[in-house]
Structure formats: C-alpha cells, structure tokens
Assembly symmetry: C2
Amino acid sequence: MAVTIGEVAKAAGVSVSTVSRALNTPDLVNAVTRQRVVAAAEKLGYSPNPAARSLREGRTESLGLLIPDITNPFFPPIFKAMQERAKRQGYTLLVADSDEREADELETIAAVSKKVDGLIIWASMLPEERLTELAARMPVVLVNRQADGVSEVHVSLTDGIAQAAEHLKAYGHQRCVFVDGNGNRPDQSRSKSIRAAFDAHGLSLIEIGPYEPRFETGVHAAPLVLAHEATAVLAHNDLVAMGVLHQLAALGASVPGDVSVVGIDDTILASVSTPSLTTIRIDPDEVASRAVDLLIGLTHERPAEAPVVQVGSRLIPRGTTGPARRESR
Amino acid sequence: MAVTIGEVAKAAGVSVSTVSRALNTPDLVNAVTRQRVVAAAEKLGYSPNPAARSLREGRTESLGLLIPDITNPFFPPIFKAMQERAKRQGYTLLVADSDEREADELETIAAVSKKVDGLIIWASMLPEERLTELAARMPVVLVNRQADGVSEVHVSLTDGIAQAAEHLKAYGHQRCVFVDGNGNRPDQSRSKSIRAAFDAHGLSLIEIGPYEPRFETGVHAAPLVLAHEATAVLAHNDLVAMGVLHQLAALGASVPGDVSVVGIDDTILASVSTPSLTTIRIDPDEVASRAVDLLIGLTHERPAEAPVVQVGSRLIPRGTTGPARRESR
DNA sequence: GGCAGCATTGCAAACGTTTCTGACGTATGT
DNA sequence: ACATACGTCAGAAACGTTTGCAATGCTGCC
C-alpha cells in the first residue's frame, strides 16, 4: 500500500541503508547519490513508517497530555499552545480527557502511556504513590499537583491574588466572599493563598464551599454573598463567576455597582461576558512551553533531582470590579 | 526497559507464539496453559508494544480528528464525545488543530496521517481535489464539507433555523438581521438556509457581512442592527451573538426587550450568558457517533459509493428572545 | 489396528526501519 | 612503497508482534 524505503532504494539503485542515511544523516553519503535518493523519495512520495521507526528507535516522538476536562474553556488554549510547542520540536501531542474521574484517569494512562515518550498530567486525582511509581517508569511532568520525586510545573496564583486583593482594597472593599469550587480535589493551595493575601491586606474574607467548580455553584453563591453583606466576590474560576453574575442580575444587584466580581483563569468566558469579567490570568503559552520543554528534557536525560518550575499569574482588571458601594443599605 | 512478550513466554515456560495466542485468541490454547500465561503476563505487567503490533498488523488502532480551532468552544464537547466513542471501539483519538489556515492543515495532515487509520476533517479549507485524492489513499470522513467521492457527515441547520424563524415570527418580529461570520470559507450553506427559512416565514431579512466569526464581529454588528431598525438578530454563532449582546448593552438597548438575539452552536457561552442565550443546538454526541462509526466502518471495508449521513439541529429557546418591541420608536 | 482428524504447541518469517560491521577503493603520510 | 586513514556504500541484525506452517500426540471411527 504505502511506499517503503525498499522501493525508494530500488528506484535510486542503492541499498536501503543508503537511503536511510541519505535522509537522516546526509553528510554520511556522497552528494550525487544523495541527490538521486532524495529525488526518488520525492517522486514516490515516500515518508517513513512511524511504527517501524518507533519499534527500532524505542521512542514514539509523541507526548501525552492528560487533562481533567477539555470542556473547561481553560484548557483549549493550553492544549493549543502545547501542541504548537511540541510540533516545533518534532513531537506530536496526544490529548486525553480523564473526565474528572480517578478510574478514567488510570485507564487513560494505561491506554496512552505506551504510545508516548512522556506524559504531562494536569491536576491529577491519583494518589501520590501512583504518580511516583508512574514517574519511575516513564518521564512525567505534573501540573498543579505534587508528588515525591516527580517533575512539576507549579502555576502560582499568588501574584494574581495579591493584585486582586490590592485592587479591591483600593476600591474601598472591606468584606469579600471567596467561593471555593475545589470540590474534594487534593490541591488546597488556591484557598490558602487567598486567605493569606486577603489577610495581608486587612480585608475580611468569608469562605463558602467547597462546591464543585460549576456555573450552578455561582448561582448558588450569589444570594449568600448578599446575605453576608459583602461587596466583592472572588470566584474559584471564571465559570463560577459567570454563575454569580447571572444570579446577581436575577436578584436585581448591579455589577459592579453593588457587588464587584473577580474570576480566575481568564478564559473566553471572561472576555465575552457583559460586563467583561475582571479575572486572574495564567499565560497559556508560558505554562505550555515550560511543561513541554521540561518533559522533552526528561526524555533525553533524567536528572537526579526532579526539577520544579514556577509560572506566575496576574490580575486583568475589567468591567466587573469598581468602587465599593457605600455602607448605607 | 518495558516487559516484552518474550519475557512473559519465558516466565510461563512456553513459546512467544503461545503467549500471543493465549492473549489474543484464547480458544486456540489449552485452558491450563492459558491460565499460566495470563498469570505470568499479569504478574510482569505485560502490555503489548503498540509500535510492534502496528508494524505487523498494518494498522494503528488510532483515528485522527482535524479541527480548525479547538479554542472555539463548539469543538471541545465534540472532541470529548468522539474520544469516548472511539475508545469504546478500541481506538485512540488524535486531535490536531489546523489553526484555520490551509497551509497548517496540509502540514498537519502530513504529520498525522501515517499515525492513524483514518481521518475526520471538520470544515476543511483544502481544495476539493486534494480531499478527493487524500480520501483515495486513506479512509476520510468530512464534516461540514463536501468533496467528490468522499464520505461525509452533514450537520444540517435547516431544522433549527426553521424553528428559529417560527419562534421569532410567533413573537411578532418582522425585521431580522443575520450577521454572517463565515469569512471566506467555502461552505455557504448557512447563509442560504437562513435566507430560505426566513423567506418561507415571510420575515424580512437583512444580511450583513461576511465577517470573521469573532466576538468583535458582534460588537461591530450591534449598532447596525439598531440602525436597520430590526428587532431580532440571528448571529453566525454564539461567540458573535455574545458580541452583539455586549454591545447592545453598551448602547442601552435591552435584551430581549428591545432586541431579541439568537446564536448558533449552543456552546457553553450560550448557557452562561446573562440573560442566557437562545441558540440552535447541534447534538455533539450525535455528530461524534455518526462520524466515528462511519470512519471505523470505512477502515473495515470501502463501499463503492461514499456514504453521506445527516444530523439535525433544533432551537433551544432561552432568555434572549421575547416579544418584539411595538413599533413606536 | 490403522488411519484420519483434531487439539495444542513451537518455529520461523514478516512488517519497515535504523545502525553496526565490514568491504572496497582511494588518498595521505612517512 | 607500504601502511594507515578515510569516504562511501552494502549486508545483516535487531526492535516486538502476529501468524502460516509443521510437528506432535491423542481421540475416535471403521
């Protein structure tokens, strides 16, 4: 069916090994034969069979990305950036969606791990020892998750949250609500950072939740915000923030007149909402580059100490934040 | 590194061929040896090397999906559904984003086509003859695009658009604007269907565009809608509709009080907007199943006539449509 | 009792590639 | 002039699977 290296060899009147060298290590073959070979390859439309190459080389030139839910608008830009980055280094990126379920994640890893040279796992739900033992068998980069001896890209919300606190403080807000949408996931850092930043700025913080990170969570939270007489809300992510906006409107509260709202992630939701949503941005290109480069590095050589790299965040002030309502209810 | 079939064979005290048969065609091997083999395989954690298997079998057990932009919230649910569907039939799904550029699409096809048994190409920008010749070399299913002799899933907006026209008519609307966001893409069917449906319902239709399918297009369109004294807008997709909503609010027009807005795609944007967006829904699970099943069918046997399957659409009435404003401006 | 047939297993080939080893010829250095 | 080195190429092995073919031993039938 497809054209093989053997047919190219025959067409060029040389051996298969010469064809292979002419294409892979051109300086090892005489200029004129090389010409003949590439001409023949071109003419026949030859391209090497990746399965055969993988079998021989022991590597697939592919990377795997495991994410909890591609439907979450936070991920597509990340995937796109990673794919771009991987492609430029000769790798194909394979995504898989674990559907927020631990069982699916395990199954997906099993299905995909043999087809790739390394794995980027975002916010894994697996127990730490599984991750450690997986990383012992193949290159693994964790994002937003930590495990002993496993490389990691840590996206830190610290800066963005500090800026959000500063921003709200400057607008005169004093009582804020944080809507925790972390569910029962292992990573508690978001909640901790927020507590720290708001304390540091002398803002009183009311945490509600944890709930699941869904639109309905925001809908649920909106009346609670009003009941707590808070003037600002920091939501677990943009989706939850959209729920808050939606329900505040239904309750007749104006944004940002009565309540200011801040999201996290700077997804497309934030930029298209009305008013547009103030949010904390994590640069997808940066996380993507860091994670991909780190993983590719790992496939070449395994350092003794698993590297950890940080990426930052920043506040994008938009239309849902403004001066606090005077206390005159 | 990884455990091979040979090691399993040694551990079980049989030949490699027996191991292979015990795992792939169990009825061909004696029950007790089979037990011994599976036990050994289990114990060593054996799983077959996909590269070797592909090489031998000539198939990869993978399918490719080519989409113009994963960042468009329309696609993630489709991808997810396709991945699910493919997985249940033993296939891995490989997505690639062609970034809306013809050159990238070609390059991506080249990169991915050898790694998969077939390709689903969504809204291809390639010239028809390229698609036809590609489909001659490997199984291809086109979505929202047509090419001679190539299988196709056609998602028809006809029903949804008819329902939208009916819906607007019932609410007393008479002058509607269609914001065309098709850019310079080949497929003109959307515009045609809309013209037909609105004519059929005796609604006057003003088409503006074509523009690119972006948020800003909606922002641009909003004042034009008012200038045309239309009371309803049908946008090219939800994203454009969000732009319209955003700018109508900025212009002081209320939705749906002054203007009704209808989107297309039923993305997450539609469900989280305020008010929530009336839109035309295409069921992702249905397109996904149809496309995947069709493609897998094609990998088994190539029918003489390339099959074409249709999937429908329907209106989801939500908060952005209502009774038309009385003509009393 | 002999022969056909079946169940069970091992051997070896094949898939397409890369790379090691070696062969051949020519140029170079002493 | 001879040995060494080098450039250039062909041959063959190897990667891990699956599967066609053959070998073995047993059963059952006439």
